[in-house]
Subunit: 201 residues, 2 copies
């Protein structure tokens, strides 16, 4: 192989990142090699993340290390309702919900969903810590905010079964016509749910 | 914004890499934050590239720095034909051609193609060094090996016009039916060229 070993190694590592294949990894590596200034900037940024960013031991959202901060700003915030936990698949789901400013409780980032084709996939989820939090902090309600996909539905069912043993209310986000949504394009399941849970005006 | 500044900065930088948008950059950054070991490995690999990989001053292919090596292994190789230069768009084109072992000359990585919508795009190409190489090294033939796209065709025409002022034979890769290609699916241009340049058997 004509490519120097350090280049081969880097392509290998970058092609393991989410959504990147070998071809794109190769393009990225050659791009960086011919732009050393940009490469140095990325190394600096990555090193800063490595040193300064830690993961909240409660909700698993990343935050900047600081001597007085043991948890993330959300979990620490004095005005948040600490009796409700909204469980989401990933960090970006939390960010989208936070941007609405319509939820004032705490979060729990599960770190993935159960895959119907991989029955062992539940083992990688942060379920154990969720159960500890429920016990430690007198949680009254758990909101399951998963995508309405087969993976999301299976994860909801699985967590529901486990959480039933705890003294906690379990809810899920409402299923219905989204804002701006056309009725003619809505699928049967959504329409069924929108009728069943129709609101009084 | 809820996201710590170092995370925002890194997302910004990663979203500038080829083929990566803001959404994917965000996913990659969160992925790395929760896998510090992998993150450290990538920092190490990138730093090695930064320190040890340099770009050949002749053909622009990257190679590993070494006290005795002023050029890349291809440009230095005693058995390569130093009178022919094959001009390619990018590093991966060179790799694909090298893997066939059917070309024994030198290369020149142009670093891109001229875009029909950006007339200034020729300025980023490594044309000046190509012309210097032709003068310095008594080059006899330049093979233009660009993709048969509008960008590739425009770049070929542009280089042809410049190179005509030099004492050098200009050729291009043959256009025809690719190996394994069906006649019924070939486009009119390819068929026309395949007839025009038909080979005697």
């Amino acid at each position: 192989m004509l490519l120097p070993l350090p280049i081969q190694n880097l392509i290998e590592k970058i092609s393991k990142l989410p959504g990147i294949g070998k071809r794109q990894a190769t393009r990225i590596v050659f791009y960086l090699i011919s732009r050393k200034e940009e490469l140095r900037e990325i190394i600096k940024s990555l090193s800063l993340i490595e040193k300064e960013i830690v993961i909240c031991p409660d909700c698993f959202f990343p935050f900047q290390k600081s001597p007085n901060l043991k948890k993330c700003p959300i979990c620490c915030h004095p005005k948040r309702n600490k009796n409700i936990i909204c469980v989401v698949e990933k960090e970006t789901d939390l960010l989208t919900i936070e941007e609405t400013r319509k939820f004032n409780g705490l979060y729990h980032i599960l770190g993935g969903l159960i895959s119907p084709v991989d029955p062992q996939s539940y083992k990688n989820l942060r379920i154990k810590r969720l159960l500890e939090r429920i016990k430690e902090n007198k949680i009254k309600e758990i909101i399951l905010a998963f995508p309405l996909t087969p993976q999301g539905e299976i994860t909801s069912l699985y967590l529901e079964r486990i959480l039933k043993k705890y003294q906690v209310k379990i809810t899920a986000l409402a299923k219905g016509i989204p804002s701006g949504g056309e009725i003619e394009f809505a699928d049967p399941q959504t329409i069924e749910s929108a009728f069943k849970h129709r609101e009084s005006l």
